[in-house]
Amino acid sequence: MTCKTDSSSCGSGGSCGCRSGSEAAAHDPVDAGRRWFMKAAAAFSTTVLGPGVTLLAFAESDAAHAKPADQPVSSKQRWGLLIDAGKCQDGCTACVTACSTENGWKTTGHPETDPQWIRKLTVTSPQDGSSFSMPMLCQHCAEPPCVDVCPTGASFKRADGIVLVDRHICIGCRYCMMACPYKARSFIHEPLEDQKPYAPRGKGCVESCTMCVHRVDAGGIPACVEACAKTGNAAMIFGDLNDKNSEIAKRVATYRTTRVRADLGTEPGVYYQNI
């Protein structure tokens, strides 16, 4: 498998966080039949559930049990994403744009140092030329390598599974960037101004997708998921993986899903379908 990035936020082909292991299996001839079945099953469920609007309603009902503002987050929740590459349209970058708008990041003009909160990848099989499109972002691992290597404790996992950087104590050593198998972290090299009030970010710190933690804490859903639903593709679902009745947990239990580089044992909170 080879991969390239659609958006301008990823520079070289090698820095897109794509590996040949698990994706290669998706294009084996043996797997083709199962894949067709999965696509048919997904289409069926979409018919039953209705279009993106209904899906968004599900996502919101998942988050409706938002905690009171003065209570700490709890490990009862495990926030996750389910991304259906079968519905992710080639060339659509609605999720990337929404993330950039929400969190106030933009290209630096130097692709090598661009923020990597989220980027679109096109994964192509060199054998048969078939390809699919998918967003790549922080996988919010249950066993995050970035947290293991952080010398100051700035890289941490919240009780509800969201992996963050505490920029107050980040010293900018970038070990986490090297440790992350998904290349989901980036470093801010230049001074910034006019940041978004709810997404503080500045020179000298590492950053990555926060799963829109400010929205989630207020009972909302990440900006990328919202934007994807608005396009009608509805390829992304956000919800509580621990809640057996949530749409995301039901889908993960029902359909065959893939976690990127599952062989590493990082236990990502981001699941993919049809990759």
Binding site: K67, A69, R215
Partner: protein, 159 residues
């Protein structure tokens, strides 16, 4: 006789010296305490005297709870300080920390204490947020008017 005639001159000379000295003492750097812009509400989230001495502790305490535990109570939310104490510039928009009239800078410049919050945090209010996380009045927070309970809050659970 000579002494009598020189009195007015002496007075003028003394007055001159006094005014020069006063002028030196009244140099801008030694002007009286700064008068930072008042907030827009009736009262601050804690008594003013307490805030003067402890606002940094409140912010530090809150940041730990917010970033690591997701606690987003309004009382010591930096964004709320920025919203309430915004100073309008010549263009009618709130000034950033690069302007010496900025609420935080007024005192920090005077006390020569470096401000680094705004290397990452926004120093002026943003557009309306989409988060819906701004409900609740900071003035209704527990201990908003009670210094003892504010101090207990800072010491609370070692956080």
């Amino acid at each position: 006789m000579w002494m009598k005639g020189s009195w007015p001159r002496l007075v003028v000379a003394l007055a001159l010296i006094a005014s020069v000295m006063a002028g030196t003492l009244a140099a801008p750097a030694l002007a009286g305490p700064p008068t930072p812009a008042k907030g827009q509400g009736d009262k601050c989230v804690a008594p003013t005297d307490w805030m003067r001495r402890n606002h940094m502790k409140g912010l530090m305490h809150h940041r730990q709870r917010t970033v690591h535990e997701g606690i987003r109570t309004p009382q010591f939310d930096l964004n709320r300080c920025i919203d309430c104490h915004q100073v309008k510039g010549d263009d009618g928009k709130p000034v950033t920390v690069s302007d010496s009239r900025h609420f935080c800078r007024t005192c920090h410049d005077y006390a020569a204490v470096k401000l680094d919050c705004f290397e990452c945090h926004a120093s002026r209010p943003g557009e309306t947020t989409t988060t819906g996380g701004l409900e609740g009045s900071p003035h209704g927070a527990p201990g908003a008017g009670d210094v003892a309970s504010l101090n207990r809050y800072l010491e609370g659970a070692g956080r």
